[in-house]
């Protein structure tokens, strides 16, 4: 089993990034690369669907943090959905749930973007 696989797909104005496995210091470059590719392509609204994400360490949080200013400066955002309990605990412990919009499901996250538009 690989430590991390990442699927990226478009959903309207947003790009959905679905990491599966573990984001840690070993896999973070792969995760960071996927996010950076989207930003380079001008895809500034990114939804991280975390339903298959087993855990994310501070290395992965740093990757998200490293891009948040760029996407928001370009009228985009990084949203989160389907966080497993332990992944939510990590985000919440570090105050990330105040920095990012978190949704129970992908549908609700995408609907919020439609309402916003």
């Amino acid at each position: 089993m690989t430590d991390l696989s990442i699927q990226v797909r478009d959903a309207g104005s947003a790009s959905v990034v679905e990491p599966s496995g573990f984001i840690n210091a070993h896999t973070v470059r792969q995760f960071e690369g996927a996010l950076e590719t989207l930003v380079q392509e001008g895809r500034f609204t990114i939804l991280l669907n975390c339903r298959e994400l087993n855990y994310i360490s501070s290395a992965g949080l740093g990757a998200i943090m490293g891009l948040i200013e760029t996407v928001r400066e370009n009228k985009g955002d990084i949203l989160l959905c389907n966080l497993q309990e332990n992944v939510f605990a990590i985000f919440d412990t570090l105050g990330f749930t105040q920095l990012y919009r978190v949704f129970p499901s992908e549908e609700e996250a995408l609907a919020s973007l439609t309402e916003q538009a």
Binding site: N24, Y55, S58, G62, M65, E85, N86, T93, L94
Partner: protein, 147 residues
Amino acid sequence: MCPSPAMRMEKSDFRLTIPSQTRYLNLVTGLAKRASQLAGMDDSTAAKVSIAVDEAVTNIIMHAYGGEEDHSVELDLRFTETTLEIHMWHTGVGIRGNQIVLPDPKEYVKHPRKGGLGLLLMSRFMDEVRFSEEKGRSECCMIKNIA
């Protein structure tokens, strides 16, 4: 308080030495999670312990050894009646107590930046985190109380 490092293994100890390479993080965190469950912790607590171990071992590999892959990290898991102790030793650059600055999450939210989050997770998810040096080796000791 963390006990000083003991060189002999007790019956309830489990010791593992890994190369200073991030490819082994998953192995170590999996072990920490299973050990926590074996000690009687629930799945949620065990997951937090495994994250704290990921952060501690990552700090050793990336900062104490500067990312050099030809060193080793020694882990010693000690089961007591009331705690799980996780001792991690290395011969790289150690952290001294006065070098530890934990970011304030409230300030962090106002002024986000990269870095410093690993130590915060370790301190929030474990009941005790200590750093020490002895005989040319540095130790990070983390203790989780069994509820």
